[in-house]
Amino acid sequence: MDQVIFGAEVFLNGLMTGVMYSLVALGFVLIFKASGVFNYAQGVLALFAALTLVGIQDGQVPFAHLINAAFGTSLHHFGWTVPSILAIALTVLVMVLLAFLIEKLVLQHLVGQEPIILFMATIGLAYFLEGLGDVMWGADIKTLDVGLPQGISDGIETLTAGWFGYGFFIDRLDIWATVIAALLVAALVAFSQYTKQGRAMRAVADDHQAALSVGISLRFIWVMVWSIAGFVALVAGIMWGTKSGVQFSLSLIALKALPVLMLGGFTSIPGAIVGGLIIGVGEKMFEFLIGPMVGGATETWFAYVLALVFLVFRPQGLFGERIIERV
């Protein structure tokens, strides 16, 4: 009986973890949907966004090391702090500016190139952004606090203790992540379905040439999509950065999104959510049930195995568009 109760706790935590994975996967889906580009830099975008947020919050002088080395100064902070909401708003502006620069300096020059060329460009972009983040904000680990609560939810613990005689652990941060992810998905779906820009984005996703022929600006759409992906990256960066502090390993959360994308499909927003939930629950339950028999630490490889199993039966992922090749 204990195993069943523990299993239920693991299942719930798996769902919560899955939502965290989905937050990262969403950014990939948005860009792939609109441009057919697998954005290798999405994890680094989350890192860059989180670094910028903390830097603005703490009043850190950007490029301080560079300035100090060049001019012999010892600048580090402006001496003020910025409230979280304002800092988030300013970070969003930085991400929009970044999207504009990416389009202007990278994507614009690669219009009409093969997807693999665009993919390679995003690899370069990832390394450039990682270096830029380092030079701009320094390599130290930074504490991120935007007021999100962390730690066990007492309400759920008390409730489940009354039901099962064992109080479940659910992290309050994960509950917030779930609520925020739900709002984010609803907003993204509403945007793409009911706004002019959203419909234009879908038109570009369906056929670049046709969209151009009816007067849709490809450049505008790309800037818009990369801006939205930057915003999603900021949300993911806040959630993951709150847990671990903002540090350069944050870019590796992209690795957690890959099996989610393989499973959910690269073109579906609901797919990213459902894929995340399946991966989250799957890896946690496997670790709980089988992990102890095989030495544990199964989560990373199991997520990929699970995704591969799904791929065998549905190569386009659960929610991806069917691949039709006409001769």
């Binding site: 992290d171 350069f248 630490a297």
Partner: protein, 427 residues
């Protein structure tokens, strides 16, 4: 034009290369990538001590010390590339701060006759100098650390751990797995139950591991983590309300950056250490005067005094003392790696010598020999005070249980000797 270009290139290489008479101690550092925050602080401490010796004393024995840096990004392949790129520049000794890189370099340094110094990391059984002629890992190794942690718990429990449950949360890598065998032996000896809880690198997500700990309710958790794994583990422990004073990290899980992201929740967390904490040592005054104020500190001196900075600095102190001893034995200031190895094998850093250096009681005394490349293995416990934002030393230096550790070192080093076809030295 071609000749001018060639001359320029050659001049550039000559300018970048150390002068031939200098003592060359390459710094295989990592300032980028997932572990860059730790690597930067360590590299800064390492660089700054040699800068101090150059600025204050004119080097060691009149020879300036060159510390060319090479970025490894904590990547084993890049680490080996850095070694290959620097080994012919007159390099005396390497300290790559990576167990993975160390394992790759062990056979190489034996062949190239270079000293490999791995304080508190690397292959534990390299303590046996009869087998590992070129490797030194004083003042303490992973197994010493595990034993000192258990000794601390024995002290806290009136000398008995009978019936207690201890979990080992570890980085699922060569490094993290190192203490398992020692802890199993100690569990048999002291009657506690050991649960092994691996965390897949880098350790950004540890939900399953801490749910397991919450279910199994161990009395204590010992952690062998590195990088983001530490910050997440401490936060997760706080989330499940695990008593922070019952969570003990090894020294690589004992820096300020490991505890600060968890804020007040990290208060009381403990870690094993083999070096002092804070800046209350006379050496820091010299660092201030000769390195920081003149603007010669690595990265502007922003990490001076942090736990990892101090550990990097301490590694440089031990290397510098070995160089000094080698110069004394060889009767020349311009020593070779072979002579440096002699210096290490005759190293004797007493409490008095540490005080002379300006680091009284900073580390345990170190006496090495041909057979003992690891020293006494003594370490102590530090505890985090979140309100003050500092580590406090809460025990004296404690000897590990050599009754358990030494036979394991013999066994493992003999196995390596057989595998590598090495005939152990007779000493």
């Amino acid at each position: 034009m071609k000749t001018k270009l060639t001359a320029l290139v050659v001049a550039g290489i000559m300018a970048g290369a150390p002068a031939m008479a200098d003592l060359v101690v390459p710094n295989l550092s990592y300032r980028t990538g997932p572990y860059g925050a730790n690597g930067t602080q360590y590299a800064d401490g390492f660089n700054d001590y040699f800068t101090l010796l150059n600025e204050r004393d004119g080097g060691i024995g009149g020879e300036k010390i060159q510390v060319p840096e090479c970025e490894t990004a904590y990547n084993t392949e890049k680490g080996v590339e850095c070694y290959e790129a620097t080994k012919d520049t007159g390099a005396l000794v390497y300290n790559p701060l990576s167990t993975g890189i160390t394992y790759q370099l062990i056979p190489k340094v034996a062949e190239d006759k270079k000293v490999l110094y791995t304080p508190g990391y690397g292959r534990t059984s390299a303590k046996n100098g009869k087998v590992f002629e070129w490797i030194f890992n004083a003042p303490a190794n992973y197994w010493d650390g595990a034993s000192v942690a258990i000794k601390h718990l024995l002290d806290e429990n009136g000398g008995s751990l009978e019936g207690k449950k201890i979990a080992l949360v570890y980085h699922n890598s060569a490094y993290g797995k190192e203490p398992i065998r020692t802890l199993q032996e100690l569990a048999d000896k002291h009657g506690f139950t050991l649960t092994e809880v691996p965390v897949e690198a880098p350790g950004q997500e540890q939900g399953s591991q801490w749910l397991q700990i919450r279910r199994e309710r161990p009395d204590y958790v010992i952690m062998y983590g590195w990088g983001v794994m530490n910050q997440v583990a401490i936060q997760e422990a706080a989330n499940i309300r695990f008593p922070m004073e019952n969570l003990i990290g090894i020294w690589w899980a004992g820096s300020e950056i490991d505890v600060q992201p968890a804020g007040a929740a990290a208060d009381g967390y403990k870690a094993v250490t083999f070096n002092g904490v804070g800046q209350d040592y006379p050496l820091y005054d010299d660092l201030q005067q000769y390195v920081i104020e003149p603007g010669k500190a690595s990265q502007g001196g922003e990490h001076v005094g942090s736990a990892v900075y101090s550990r990097g600095m301490y590694a440089a102190v031990v290397i510098a003392e070995a160089i000094r001893k080698a110069q004394e034995l060889a009767g020349t200031s311009d020593i070779t790696p072979e002579q440096l190895r002699e210096g290490f094998e005759n190293l004797d850093i007493t409490e008095e010598r540490l005080a002379e250096i300006g680091l009284p009681d900073f580390g345990p005394p170190i006496q090495l020999s041909c057979s003992n490349h690891g020293g006494s293995g003594m370490a102590r416990i530090q505890q985090w005070d979140a309100e003050a934002g500092q580590w406090n030393l809460i025990t004296e230096f404690t000897e590990p249980d050599q009754e358990v550790v030494q036979p394991l070192i013999e066994e493992d080093s003999q196995a390596y000797a057989t595998e590598a076809g090495i005939t152990p030295r007779d000493c």
